[in-house]
Amino acid sequence: MLAAQSTPDKEFEQLIVAFCCNWCSYAGADLAGTARRSYPANIKIIRVPCSCRVNPTFILRAFLRGADGVIIAGCHPGDCHYTSGNYFARRRMTLLMSMLSFLGVDKARLRVEWVSAAEGNKFAEVMTSFAETIKALGENVKLRDLRCKK
Amino acid sequence: MWQEGTAVDLKTTITAKSLKNIFFPQIENLLAFERQGQKLSLEQKQLPAEKTIAFGVRACDIASFNLLDKVFLKQPVDHFYQARRENCTLIGLACSEPEETCFCRTFGIEPASPTADAAAWLVGDDLFWQPKTTKGEELTAAIKDLFTEAEGGDKIVAEQQAQVQALLDKMPLAGFALSDEECSKQAEIFESEVWEELSKTCLGCGTCTYVCPTCHCYDIRDYEVNDKVERYRCWDSCMFSDFTNMAGGNPRTTRLARFRQRYMHKLVYFPANNEGAYACVGCGRRLQKCPVSLNIVKVAKALGVTKNV
């Protein structure tokens, strides 16, 4: 049975995947850009039409491939461009987070945030605070496919 | 793998999972290759070289290794299997309390006298030991101070063997025997309409193939890992829907076809290619583990290839 051991070769370089919904949080990220708000560079944003497009298998795949943290940003409940998208996303992510925690994976590695198109500052703050949480948690060794880590 | 300090359980007659994975593990990386520009570098995984001892192997599992040898050691030889097989000394342990699902005698296997590198009998607290092959001799020599000459050992062992035979005769599957002549009528069995009825309730899950000690099918896949590609081998089951996915399509699309193939391989095709040796050792794991209790005994009876003994 392969024990998952972490190999802290070089200074731990965290890798965070952010799924941002095109209408709100992606626009919030753009606004954070235009306002020149900075946040850690190891956060990489994937654009999805709505937070309800994020399939838990994408998140598990990201963890499997070595992501240390995954954050899903969507519109504030009620403001979704597709009326009910983020409500479904909210339920799906609540159950997924609870199950990951049940399996012993640190719950804080997966986070859901509601950021509107007008909240550039909040986007930058959320990303910075998430990066700090992940740095504190250290490298993700529990859900990582040992063959895939670079 | 046994580590220091873990208790040894010799009581259970048959293990849940078969022992084939000590020679033919469920997943195994065969080789890896990498492309630098136009050059392709090949990295052969070195063959497992560590010496191992398998203690407490039942007669049926030992017989299954002989069947697996017929597959993996025939040309072209599977080096990985061969390396593991040669580096391992098998010590058979005779059955003292057979299960009701055991029918190893149907295939001419003596539960009480295992034919491994060395045989052992556990009677009460003392263990009787008898080396059989050169490897067995070497091992016995290496640990000879553990042994004391057992006088009258044969008598006690023979007594246990008789006892086992008597117990087995009481079992429900005692009278189950296959007629070689019936099993060789390949076309007739293939056309039999019994398959329809039998295969209807099969789930097509693959438990029987993975717990069976003699099943040896595997799938090879290339796994893209960053800029390297690893070729790895893993068990596969003929019961899975995509088992025979080929370039041209999938010849066995219905569950009936897959179900029939599984049993015909055990009862008909394998004996035809291997001098009449059935691809089954009667360990009974399938009888216990199949979710819908389908097994070779029921199929054989339905096909009418049994003979009464």
């Binding site: 890798l15 995947v17 095109n22 209408w23 709100c24 992606y26 626009a27 990220a29 753009d30 954070a32 850009g33 235009t34 020149r36 708000r37 900075s38 946040y39 560079a41 190891n42 990489k44 944003i45 994937i46 654009r47 999805v48 039409p49 709505c50 309800c52 497009r53 994020v54 399939n55 838990p56 298998t57 994408f58 795949r61 990201a62 491939r65 070595g66 992501a67 009620g78 403001d79 979704c80 461009h81 597709y82 009326t83 009910s84 998208g85 479904f88 799906r92 509107s116 198109a117 007008a118 930058a124 895939c148 | 399509g249 999938n250 699309t253 219905t254």
Partner: protein, 660 residues
């Protein structure tokens, strides 16, 4: 093998300053499938697009990745450019290395590494792009305008003039909105009713315009070109056809204790009332809360006295369903509530009033027939103080952070009107900054000071207290540094303005974006100020942000032109990134149909050929016209049969793999 062209944009220095664009182009060259990679100073410019088109032709590129600014900015531009070069526009992917990289990371090394990672993700995704063709959906040649103020009227008139049908839905019993409450309007001081009433009549009589007053929007569904709105026509309890507007019923009505909303509560009105003289339609409405007939079942005098027999107590709310191609939001504004501003003593001193109440006082049709008198004792005031920025420019949670823009002008207007009619009244205005920008506005304000002797004092009013029969205004004169306690007979507060109360409810209904101050967010503050990001929804008037009447009318016209741009098309290109169901793996459980917000999924029995086996199965079908591409169904589908074109499971997985 794909032939991918990668174009890395400098964006002048916006990207090139913190991202080594040459190294990005260089490092992607080694990725299998990339046939061409180059960096260019301005990819969105003429030259940039030509570079791309030339490369597509010369290298026979099958896919294009542009590493530049946000796709929300120039995705359309690059797609058109690719299309012009003969490549399907949906084979272009954008890597956002400006807003998400160069602008937010200072260290060049780090930013370049991230840009390369984002480029790799885009390349991984573009390999799996499939050529898509936009579908078409018909456009209903009818527009809906929500709100009957000057903004709604102007937009409706401009649309109707172009020959399209327009419906106006107004919440209050009459169109006219806040402008109908004003006395004079700046900068020309012409009477508000004189310039508004003709527009109201024009709208009422225009054959292309239908007006629903005393009505609200119940529900809106559908999407651009195919909206469907349900309008709730609240029961007026008066028959619009038979009523002649004689007003006898209002006179005779015994219940007079309701406060008139039109007069900002400065006088009462009867339960059956016409809000103001020039109201259109000139038909009264029964306010059921205050009507004795509805509350106690007795009375019924109005029915008896009505010469035309137009009173219909049993009238019920009526739901009208109507299809529209475009919807314009013109919901206007309201003054903020003074409850949190105790220091001005608004609730206890009747002589401390808001500017809108002042408008009613000076209006000839107002409660005092235009005579400027104190509300406490009815006497003529000898001195009036105007206070600017009450609740505006306030970063605490009491007020609004923004400047309400119109108060400085109407303060000067009020000051001049008082001085012109009653030269002996002392008028003082306390201000922080007088903001009267634009054509002839500053001259207007200076005229109040130089010709009419209005006293402007720079300094915010701190507190208002009562002293005997007059008020004491405590302020400071920031210029001289002195503390003032100015006696005043009347104080007018220029309160901040906020969007109408039900703006947020409408935003949810229309899925239009709305900001934290409840103003509707425009698609782009500079380039698309009159459109909502939600296609087919347009913004007219103060609902989009504080503005005065000239700007409102200008923006109303602009919104109308945008609507005409939409309605003039017979067919609209629909978004091709819609869901699609793989018949081979669909097990017909229709979990997708339950999560689809647009009801775009139905089910049909079809003969499906799965690996040679023909079977009759229930298969989910996507109506490509209704589907908006949110993707909820793709996750609800356990077998992965439902996928989304443009954002397919494999594409997103490829991006995740490329990033991790």
């Amino acid at each position: 093998m794909q032939k991918i062209g990668v174009f890395v944009c400098w964006c002048g220095s916006n990207i090139a300053a913190t991202v080594d664009v040459a190294r990005v182009a260089e490092s992607v060259k080694s990725i299998p499938g990339v046939a061409f990679a180059a960096d260019y100073r301005y990819m969105c410019s003429e030259g940039g697009q030509e570079l791309m088109q030339k490369a597509i032709k010369d290298y026979g590129l099958s896919r294009v990745v542009v590493c530049s600014c946000s796709p929300r900015m120039h995705e359309a531009t690059f797609r058109k450019a690719a299309q012009a070069a003969g490549l399907n526009p949906y084979l272009v992917e954008i890597a956002n290395i400006r807003e998400h990289c160069s602008w937010v990371h200072k260290d060049k090394e780090v930013a370049t590494a991230k840009a390369i990672a984002l480029a790799k993700a885009a390349i991984a995704k573009v390999k799996l792009n499939t050529p898509l063709v936009s579908g078409e959906s018909a456009v209903v040649k009818r527009a809906l305008v929500i709100g009957g103020g000057i903004a709604g009227l102007q937009t409706a008139l401009d649309i109707a003039e172009a020959g399209y049908k327009v419906d106006i839905v107004e919440k209050t019993p009459s169109i006219g909105g806040k402008m109908s409450q004003l006395d004079k309007t700046f900068p020309t001081l012409d009477c508000s009713a004189c310039i508004l009433t003709p527009k109201m009549v024009e709208a009422a009589t225009h054959e292309n315009i239908t007006i629903y007053t005393y009505s609200e929007i119940e529900k809106v569904s559908g999407y651009v070109g195919q909206f469907e709105a349900v309008i709730r026509k609240k029961a007026r309890s008066v028959s619009v056809d038979r009523c002649s507007g004689c007003g006898i019923c209002s006179e005779k009505c015994p219940s007079k204790k309701a406060k008139s909303e039109f007069d900002q509560g400065l006088r009462n009105r009867s339960a059956i009332y016409i809000p103001f003289a020039q109201a259109i339609p000139n038909v009264p409405v029964i306010d059921r809360e205050n009507c004795l007939k509805f509350q106690t079942g007795k009375c019924g005098i109005c029915a008896k006295v009505c010469p035309a027999g137009a009173i219909e107590y049993e009238q019920e709310d009526e739901l009208v369903t109507q299809k529209y191609g475009a919807i314009v939001l013109a919901t206007g504004f309201e003054p903020i509530d003074m409850a949190k501003f105790g220091e001005f003593n608004y609730e206890y001193c009747p002589d401390v009033i808001t500017s809108l109440e002042f408008e009613r006082l000076t209006n000839a049709a107002g409660p005092t027939q235009g005579h400027l008198v104190r509300l406490s004792d009815g006497k003529k005031p000898k001195s009036i103080v105007f206070v600017s920025c009450v609740g505006s420019r306030d970063t605490t949670e009491r007020g609004k952070t923004y400047c309400s823009k119109i108060c400085c002008m109407y303060n000067a207007k009020h000051a001049m009107l008082v001085k012109e009619k009653y030269p002996d009244i002392d008028v003082q205005v306390f201000y922080i900054d007088v903001r009267t920008p634009g054509k002839s506005f500053d001259e207007f304000y200076r005229r109040a000071v130089e010709e009419y002797g209005v006293q402007y004092t720079k300094g915010m009013v701190g507190k208002i207290t009562e002293e005997g029969d007059h008020l004491l205004v405590h302020a400071s004169d920031v210029a001289s540094g002195a503390q003032l306690s100015v006696p005043a007979d009347m104080v007018v507060l220029a309160t901040a303005i906020k969007p109408a109360a039900d703006a947020r409810k409408l935003a949810t209904m229309l899925t239009a974006s709305i900001d934290t101050n409840d103003f509707f967010t425009e698609a782009h503050p500079k380039l698309r100020p009159v459109e909502s990001p939600t296609a087919g929804i347009f913004l007219s008037g103060v609902c989009q942000g504080p503005k005065d009447i000239p700007e409102t009318v200008a923006q109303a016209g602009a919104a109308a032109v945008k609507v005409l741009g939409l309605l003039s098309k017979d067919k609209l290109l629909t978004n091709p990134c819609v869901a699609t169901c793989n018949e081979q793996t669909c097990s017909g459980c229709l979990a997708c149909e339950k999560v689809c917000p647009y009801g775009a999924i139905s089910a049909e029995y079809k003969l499906v050929n799965v690996k040679g086996l023909k079977e009759r199965r229930l298969i989910a079908q996507v109506n490509e016209a209704l589907c908006q591409g949110c993707g909820a169904c793709t996750v609800a589908c356990p077998s992965g049969a439902m996928d989304l074109k443009g954002f397919s499971n494999k594409q997103i997985m490829a991006e995740v793999d490329a990033i991790c």
